[in-house]
């Protein structure tokens, strides 16, 4: 019977107690796991049968409370939702279990999630509206308007995307994909009055959407298929549509593509950098540009290649553009 099939797996489990340990260490357990077992079952077996001091968060066991998110071989997962056999398919029979963020570990797999909640709160994850306390009728949202939220509503604040985001790992001001998904969720709601205020928050350099590195990891890792980067793109679009966009390197970098495509079909790489950075800002790129020029990597403006049938492209850029900057 398939369900009785077992596989032997070696688990390396991250251990750390901030009150007593200077450095973290790993305990190793070799266990037979079955077809039905999820990572949480393994953590329970280790705690109940081997070492009662192992600490981890667990609650609903149904993939909805979000507290059991951890990393297995670097992949953030909900422990209660992730079958061992699926992990074995990806990684083989050695599984390393770590907290979502090792540098934020308090005790074993439990982390201090303060930065996550602070940034979530920064996105104003609630409706702001003047509500009639004694309405004569229900305040209805049409299915069409409800669809605009996309899947942003499914977020369970587990932190899987937040602690997998490479931009956030380097730039501590960056709000991160979960906060942006929440900002989109409420700004896209027809009942909300704080959309512009939220767009200003996510439009700020360093903390806002412009620092997204486009790695797609948030879309890949989300256990609820929220697809945060899609919401980040939507926020970018809303920033331009609502004319909240500032004239800075980040916005000009996005707009510059449209200019270049209209002119050449292809992207004029040098001109994009000049347009984005401005005539003074571009100077900091000169040392690398000279090295590239020496190796034949810079096309001079008068040699800029153009797409064939450029008239078609020009026509489409004119007729299909939906925003102005």
């Amino acid at each position: 019977m398939d369900s009785l099939k077992t596989q032997q797996v070696t688990f390396k489990v991250f251990r750390f107690n901030e009150e007593t340990d200077y450095l973290p260490y790993y305990n190793t357990y070799t266990l037979d796991v079955t077809h039905e077992e999820v990572v949480l079952d393994i953590l329970n077996r280790i705690k109940w049968d081997h070492d009662g001091s192992l600490s981890y968060r667990r609650s609903c066991r149904h993939g909805i409370c979000g507290v059991c998110a951890i990393k297995t071989n670097g992949k953030a997962v909900l422990a209660c939702k992730t079958r061992l056999f699926d992990l074995i398919d990806i990684f083989g029979n050695e599984i390393t279990i770590e907290p979502l963020s090792t540098k934020r570990a308090i005790k074993d797999l439990i982390i201090d999630k303060k930065d996550f909640w602070d940034k979530h709160a920064q996105a104003k994850p609630y409706l702001e509206a003047d509500i009639d306390e004694h309405p004569a009728q229900e305040n209805l949202v049409s299915p069409h308007d409800a669809e605009k939220l996309l899947e942003a509503d499914y977020c369970i604040q587990c932190g899987a995307c937040h602690y997998s985001c490479p931009s956030l790992e380097i730039n501590e001001q960056y709000m991160g994909p979960a906060a942006f998904a929440a900002a989109y969720r409420f700004s896209a709601d027809v009942r909300d009055d704080a959309s512009i205020e939220r767009l200003h928050i996510v439009n700020e350099e360093a903390q806002g959407v412009w620092d997204c590195v486009k790695c797609m990891e948030c879309a890949e890792v989300c256990p609820k298929e929220v697809n945060p980067i899609e919401k980040i793109t939507k926020l970018h679009n809303m920033i331009f549509e609502a004319a909240v966009a500032k004239n800075n390197v980040a916005t000009r970098h996005a707009v510059g593509f449209a200019h270049s495509i209209e002119k050449h079909g292809l992207l004029d790489e040098g001109e994009l950098v000049r347009y984005s950075e401005g005539n003074i800002g571009v100077l900091k790129h000169v040392p690398v540009a000279l090295k590239m020029f020496a190796k034949g990597k810079i096309v001079l403006p008068w040699n800029m290649p153009k797409s064939d049938k450029l008239d078609e492209i020009k026509k489409l850029v004119k007729s299909s553009s939906t925003v102005k900057f």
Binding site: K75, S167, C215, E217, A250, F257, L266, K297, E312, S320
Partner: protein, 293 residues
């Protein structure tokens, strides 16, 4: 085997900052007997930034590029991960949304084109692996790269989101443990190096607006490969290549450690193993000197 034939979407860098990528693509296709019909009408894909400004315009332009591949009745092959993502994502969205497809086609009709959804879109890496076959590559290797430890650097936009991997490739690979480039290194006779950053981000897309983030990511990638004793790195993405090849000074400053390794395009690695000359592969166009040939 019937001769493989694709519509080649070069993207912009192949025409500008990575000429060696274009040279090595053509040299390898020639060695493998793959026919590439260049889509000279194609525009820039928007490089994952145009859609932040104007999503609909980005869709229309990418649909136009695909429409030209469809006119040839060929699968489109890309040689840049970001071109692959933007083009395949456009196809995925249009093929799954009749209303959006109709809106885009209304625009394309203005220039006498139609997006039908009949062409597949694949990166040259996967064309080699899925369609040509690693076994055949192995048989054709004349200069095995056996003395080298080679670090694969996959590039985000080929492996994520897996939704597109699953829709696009015959044998989709897992974003958390990709194997295609490792397999190709082994087929070329090299030793593949395993390191944590191989499927991570190079930082390219934030280079202007967030230079420190971008530089740290580049530095981490090269440092990871160096610490795993790689002699050089290989990538299927020209944007990753630009970061890893030309930005090592900024990367070194950002992470406080001197990092630098030669980085080859995937096509250059295959070309070397198949006996192409360094000149055919444009190895002199690298900023970080390719000093092992």
């Amino acid at each position: 085997m019937e001769k493989l034939k694709y519509a080649l979407f070069t993207g912009c860098t192949a025409k500008e900052s990575t000429p060696e990528q274009m040279m090595s693509t053509l040299a390898v296709a020639n060695k493998l007997g793959i026919e590439l019909v260049e889509l000279t009408e194609a525009s820039c894909c928007g490089a994952s930034h145009l859609q932040d400004y104007d999503d609909f315009l980005s869709l229309v332009l990418n649909a136009r590029n695909i429409a030209y591949a469809e006119k040839h009745g060929l699968t489109m092959v890309t040689i840049c991960n970001t071109c692959q993502l933007n083009t395949a994502m456009t196809k995925h969205r249009l093929d799954n949304n009749a209303e959006l497809k109709a809106k885009v086609n209304a625009k394309l009709a203005e220039v006498g084109l139609e997006y039908k959804g009949t062409s597949q879109i694949t990166h040259f890496l996967y064309a080699i692996i899925d369609d040509f076959g690693l076994d055949k590559i192995k048989e054709m290797v004349v200069k095995p790269l056996s003395q080298f430890n080679i670090a694969p650097f996959y590039g985000c936009h080929n492996i994520r989101p897996s939704e597109l991997q699953n829709a696009t490739h015959k044998s989709p690979e897992n974003a958390y443990n990709p194997t295609s480039l490792d397999d190709l290194i082994i087929a070329c006779g090299g030793a593949n190096v395993d390191y944590a950053e191989k499927n991570k981000c190079c930082g390219f897309h934030a280079e202007l607006q967030s230079p420190r983030t971008a530089a740290v990511l580049t530095g981490n990638a090269v440092a990871g490969a160096m610490d795993a004793n790689a002699d050089w790195m290989v990538t299927p993405c020209p944007l990753c290549h630009l970061k890893l090849d030309t930005q090592t000074h900024h990367a070194s400053v950002a992470i406080g450690r001197e990092v630098s390794l030669p980085v080859l395009h995937m096509q250059q690695m295959v070309g070397l193993a198949l006996g192409c000359t360094p000149a055919e592969l444009g190895l002199s166009h690298h900023v970080t000197k390719v000093d092992f040939i």
